[in-house]
Every structure is written in structure tokens, then in C-alpha cells.
Amino acid sequence: MNRNQKIKNTVPYIAMTAPAVLLFLIFFVIPLFFTIRYSFYNWTNYSPDITFSGLSNYVKIPEDKMLKTSIKNSLLFATATVVIQSVITMPIAVVLNSKLRGRNIFRAIFFMPVVMSTLVVGYLWKYLLSSSDYGFVNQIITGLGFEKINFFGNGNVAMWTIILVEVWQWFGWAMVIYLGNLQNISGDLFEAASVDGANAWDRFWHIIVPGLAPAIKINVVTGMINGLKVFDIIVATTNGGPAHRTETILTSMYSKFSDGNFGYASAYGTVFLVVAMIVACILLGGFKKWEERLGQ
């Protein structure tokens, strides 16, 4: 194949990917570049001047009272959603991978919340779990003779309530990824294990879990990153309250924008990017080692 022929064959592929690359550049790379750039500027909504301020925005960040709370909450949210989701989803995926009657209906039901808008899910649960007389869940709880639970108004309960709402919405997504991976595990392995006298637990632990390593990696890494950048479900349910108890990194960043300090908010966003990248690198490194140990 000569050089011209090679170029001719490559052009359609470049042209096919170009729209996606273009959109990625416009909506991700360029805004990212400007966010980092403006993090070094003093840019507010009360002054027409945008002046270079060096690292001054970054110097202010450690003094920010919300920083510790928001990082702690973001990490709690990300870790808890990933762990709870994995613990619930994996066994369900295994069951739905078997020859269960009506399994397609269950798959569809479990996946249904995924297609809903997160804001809609947030507002829906906000009303279902309201501590007013209109709250459906509390009506049931009090009807059974128990005390009302202040799901979103109690600072000790609110974050866990949001975590459970998030798990409810997204566990269908994780389930689909596990299911896809489960279908790639060879049936021969199970037959061989049966011949060797392995019980259900042995099969789950020594065949299914290692076989699901790629799916676990995808779910954990994307789950952690999505968890760290949680925003919409918080805004829809508690808006960071009560008393900032459910504030996360991105809701804090949003409030910096509300204060009109765009440069500082950009610095906050850049710090978040670095934190998210560090977490992603640690996780990917860990999974690489695990996969090497499994010989994959």
C-alpha cells in the first residue's frame, strides 16, 4: 500500500471522529484551559477589570472554611456510593445473569431510574421524603407508629439520604456493566469448578469476582469520579444544607461563583481537577496491580 492510498484510507476515519473531537475540544478542553487561565486572575462580577493576580487565588483556598467540609463530604459521598452500589449490584447482576424467569423485566425495572434526569429524581425524593405532612415515606413511618425521620433536615442523616438516592438512581447502570462482563465469563470455568467440587461461594469468589475485574474497575473509577463531582442531586435535595452539612466541592465552587468571584471559583475548580486526577491515578494504579496479580 503506497503513501497516498494509506492517507486515502485514513481520511474517512479521521472525518468520522472529527465531530466528536471537535465537540470535545469546544466543550471540555477549551473551557478547561480558560478555567485554569482565569484561576490566576482577579475577575469578579463587580469590576470591569480582569487583572493578573498570580497565585493569590490559590493562597486563599486553604483558609476557606468550606474547603475541609466539602472535601470530606465529597469523599464520603463518592466512597459510600461506590461501595454500597457494588455490594448491592454485583449479586443482583449474578442473579439476573442466571436463567431467572422474567429477568428481562427486572433488568428493565432496575435500569429505569438511570434514564431519568437527576434533578427530577432529586425533586421526586425530596417530596417523597419530606418531613412535612405531605411526605409520603414519613406518612407510612408515622402510620406504623414510629417517629418521623427528618431525612433532609437532619445534618447527620441528610448526606446518607442523598447517598441512598444516588445509589437508587445509578445502580441499574452498574448492573448493566456487570451483566455485560458476566456474559463474557466462559461457562467452561463453572463446569470445571463443579467437577472440582467448588460450592457457590467458591465459584463467586474465585471465578466471578476475578472475571468481573474489568467491570469492577470501570464502575469503581467512574463511580468515584462521578461521586467527587456530585452537584445536581445535592442542589435538588438540600442545596448544601442544613447549615452546609451536605456541601461538596462543586456546590462550594458554585457558591464562589454566586459570590461573584469568578477567578477564585476557577482556582477552586482547578484544585478539584487535581484532586480528582490524583484519586483516579491511585485507583487505576491499584487496579493495574490487581489485574496483574490475577494474570489478566
Binding site: 425530596k126 468571584n261 469568578f262
Partner: protein
């Protein structure tokens, strides 16, 4: 070969779809049916108008139905009369297109658009209007004739250095709504002081009603209640505060702090929480739910203003409004001031159209329509008749005496006041949940103020 052709066909389709998606037709494609209808009507009228007298009077070219955009947090229902009044006056030269944005998102949406050099032609804002002026987002409209039609008080939030950048929409105030039937049933007379209010709440609670309704998951009503009380006991009627309302300008500029000044008053107000009238359960209730409880006759008192009047009247409840809480019941205040002011975006591409719309927004008809959506509200416009229904009898003296005042309006001279209000709302949640003491609440306000002052 076939594969290659198919690939090129796919590329062509994708390119067309991307380009089609990027393209826009602001006049037709994105309009709602109602907007299209308005545009069509305006267009027809414009054609008729041209035949009679093209660009009559103004000396400028007619807009031929060009759209002038405006955005605000007032309900579309409330603004319908205003928009209709404006469009009638524009007579098809321009068409005012109104977009509603929820108050909770408004500041960010508008700030982002203005920072990008875009945004609506008509900019509406309240306490942060001064910030928009400082940022150069608004046009100096001092030379417009409409300015002389308003009283000077109306320009409190939209003038700077002797120049005018906006006109007021109307004047708002907020007091405490009460359900007269519940008071009668519990044999409670309308309380005038904080002590009497607490006593009334005890009696009402004992009768099985909710004494005060607060939806504090998203509402600012507890903040309004506290700062209403502070208007009566700290900013006014208080010998210890020699600066009066001038305290807030000093506070905004960082010369004084709340710490050590308002503590004793907030401690007194805190009794509403200690006595169990404001509860942590309210932190899980939205303002809308609390409002529904009041409308349903389950709650005796509810902090609010004229924008809720129609809902109460339509529900057929027997209600009224009392002033904010005080210690003596004398020289009492309601909180309030100029509501949203309308200005012209400095980056508008249609200055003539925006000026025409602003003049129409300042007309008697448009200002009257605004009051009709907010029965009891005030107007700063000459010639507008403000009717005050009998439900406002208990606040009439306060309003007639001009006892309308709100700290956040004064903070805006040197900080984005809305941000401090948001912080107060969040920290009051902590006060109610027991996470914060009164002193910590006040310290949190001072700390927030220190972090958001204009530099």
C-alpha cells in the same frame, strides 16, 4: 468500495446534523407558540402602523417587531400583565420577550451571561444591581425622560454617583401573615411584641395548630423574621446603636461587625427556637409546603409579603398581615424597599429597542399591572394608584409612616448582599438544628462578610 461510500455518507449525515444543531433561528425556531403568536400579532400591527405613520415621533428607525429580551425571577403569571402592557405600547415596533429564572439560580445565570458580554437586553436585579453598575454591565440612562416620573426613593438600588442606571419595578414589603380564624378560635388577640407573640404561639400550639410556618429547606423566611425583628429593636428604637441604619454601611465597608452588637437581640429572638415554635423538622420542609399549610388553615403565622396575597384570597381564608416582631409594639417596621430594578444591558445590540421597552416598563400601565399582581405593593411611579386591601390594616400605619427598611439593601454598597443573605439562611439552619450557638451564627456572618467585600 461500498463500505467507503457508506462511510462518506455517514460523515455527510453527521456533518449536516452537527451544523443543523449549531444553527439557530432566534425569531422562529426557539419561540413558544405563545411567543410566536405575540410576534405575529406584533408583526401585523407593525405593518398596519407603518402604513399610518412610520416610526412616529421617535425620530429613530422602527424596530419592525424586533425582540427585546428580559429575564427576572418574577413568575410568568405575575409578569403577564406587565409584558402585555409593554407590548401594547410598543405597538409592534419591538416585542418584549420575558424569561423566568428561579430566584435560587438567578444570580448565577445573570452573572455568567453578563460576564460573557451577553445577557438579556433588559437587566433586572435587586440588591446586586449596584454590583452590576460597578462592573460596567449597565447603561447610564440619566438622560431618559422616564427617570423624572419616579420618586427618588425608588432609585436607592439603581443609582450611583448621581447617575441613574435603572428604574424600580415596584416597592415590596414583608410582614407576618396571620390566620384570623385560628386566632379567634384560640381566643388570641393580635400580638404586638415578641413576648406577646410567644404567648400567642403557646396558646395556639396547645390548641393543636402549628403556630408559625417556616419551610426552611429552601426558604428565607426565618432570616426575614430575624432581620425584621432586628429592624425594630436594633436598627430603630435603639439608643445603643447611634448609627441607626447607618450601621449597615459601616458594616458593609468592614468598619464594624455584627459581633458584640446584635448578640443580645438575636438571643431574644432565639427564644422562638428554644420554645419549640421553630423546629428542626422545618429544615426538611420546603417553603412551598409551609405556604400550603398556611393556606390549608393549619398554621397561624407565616412570614411573607404581597406576592402571596392572591393565593390566600383565592383560598378563601380569613387572613391579615402584622408588622415584624418588636419589643415594644411602638414605631414598628416591615422589611422591604425597592423591588427589582430594570436597567439596560451595556452590551445590548438594540439600544433603541431596549430604551423603548424600558420607557414602556416605566409607564403607568406597566407599573399598575405590576401592582395588580402584588396587591398591597407600593409604587414609586407618579400616577400609579396603589390599593391597600383591608387585610393590611395592621401594617397600614407602618407603611404610611415610611417604616419600610431592610438591612440587605444597605449591605449592597460594598458587598454582594445576596451572598450574605444566603449565608444567613444556611447558618440559621445550624442555629435551629443545634449545631451552632447564637454567637457562632453571628461570627459566621462576620466571617462571610469579610470574605465577600468588594476590593
Amino acid at each position: 468500495m461500498m463500505k467507503k461510500k457508506l462511510a462518506w455518507l455517514c460523515i455527510g449525515c453527521m456533518a449536516v446534523s452537527v451544523l443543523a444543531g449549531c444553527g439557530g433561528n432566534a425569531d422562529a425556531g426557539n419561540d413558544t407558540p405563545a411567543q410566536q403568536e405575540a410576534s405575529e400579532e406584533a408583526g401585523e400591527e407593525a405593518v398596519e402602523g407603518e402604513a399610518d405613520s412610520p416610526a412616529e415621533g421617535s425620530g429613530e428607525a422602527a424596530g419592525n417587531g424586533e425582540t427585546i429580551s428580559m429575564m427576572c425571577w418574577y413568575d410568568e403569571d405575575d409578569m403577564e400583565g406587565v409584558v402585555n402592557a409593554v407590548n401594547e405600547q410598543l405597538n409592534g415596533e419591538y416585542v418584549l420577550e420575558y424569561t423566568y429564572v428561579a430566584l435560587s439560580d438567578y444570580n448565577n445565570v445573570l452573572s455568567t451571561q453578563l460576564a460573557a458580554g451577553e445577557g438579556p437586553d433588559i437587566v433586572a436585579d435587586e440588591t446586586d444591581f449596584l454590583a452590576r453598575i460597578k462592573a460596567g454591565n449597565l447603561m447610564d440612562i440619566s438622560d431618559m425622560d422616564i427617570i423624572s416620573e419616579f420618586s427618588e426613593d425608588g432609585f436607592a438600588l439603581c443609582s450611583e454617583g448621581g447617575k441613574y442606571y435603572g428604574i424600580p419595578s415596584y416597592g415590596w414589603f414583608a410582614g407576618i401573615w396571620y390566620n384570623q380564624d385560628i386566632l379567634d378560635e384560640c381566643n388570641v388577640t393580635l400580638p404586638k411584641t415578641l413576648e406577646e407573640f410567644i404567648e400567642a404561639c403557646r396558646t395556639i400550639q396547645a390548641a393543636g395548630y402549628e403556630p408559625v410556618g417556616f419551610g426552611l429547606a429552601d426558604g428565607d423566611t426565618a432570616h426575614a423574621n430575624l432581620f425584621g425583628y432586628l429592624e425594630n429593636v436594633f436598627y430603630h428604637n435603639n439608643d445603643k446603636n447611634a448609627d441607626g441604619i447607618g450601621f449597615d454601611e459601616k458594616f458593609a465597608r468592614g468598619e464594624v461587625s455584627f459581633e458584640g452588637n446584635i448578640n443580645e437581640h438575636v438571643e431574644k429572638w432565639y427564644r422562638l427556637i428554644e420554645e419549640g415554635f421553630i423546629t428542626s423538622e422545618m429544615l426538611g420542609i420546603s417553603n412551598e409546603e409551609a405556604l400550603n399549610n398556611f393556606i390549608a388553615g393549619r398554621t397561624a403565622f407565616f412570614n411573607g409579603g404581597p406576592w402571596q396575597y392572591t393565593s390566600f384570597a383565592d383560598a378563601g381564608i380569613h387572613f391579615g398581615m402584622m408588622p415584624q416582631l418588636s419589643d415594644t409594639g411602638e414605631n414598628v417596621y416591615v422589611i422591604g424597599g425597592a423591588a427589582a430594578s430594570y436597567g439596560i444591558n451595556a452590551n445590548t445590540k438594540n439600544e433603541a429597542g431596549a430604551k423603548a421597552v424600558l420607557s414602556a416598563l416605566g409607564s403607568v400601565e406597566a407599573q399598575q399591572a405590576m401592582l395588580e399582581s402584588n396587591p398591597g405593593g407600593m409604587s414609586y411611579r407618579n400616577g400609579v394608584i396603589a390599593n391597600m386591601p383591608e387585610e393590611y390594616e395592621s401594617v397600614r400605619d407602618a407603611i404610611d409612616n415610611g417604616n419600610i427598611s431592610y438591612a440587605a439593601n444597605r449591605w449592597s454598597v460594598d458587598m454582594p448582599a445576596a451572598s450574605l443573605v444566603d449565608e444567613s439562611i444556611s447558618q440559621i439552619q445550624g442555629l435551629i438544628s443545634g449545631d451552632l450557638t447564637v454567637d457562632e451564627y453571628i461570627a459566621a456572618l462576620d466571617a462571610k462578610a469579610d470574605s465577600i467585600r468588594y476590593e
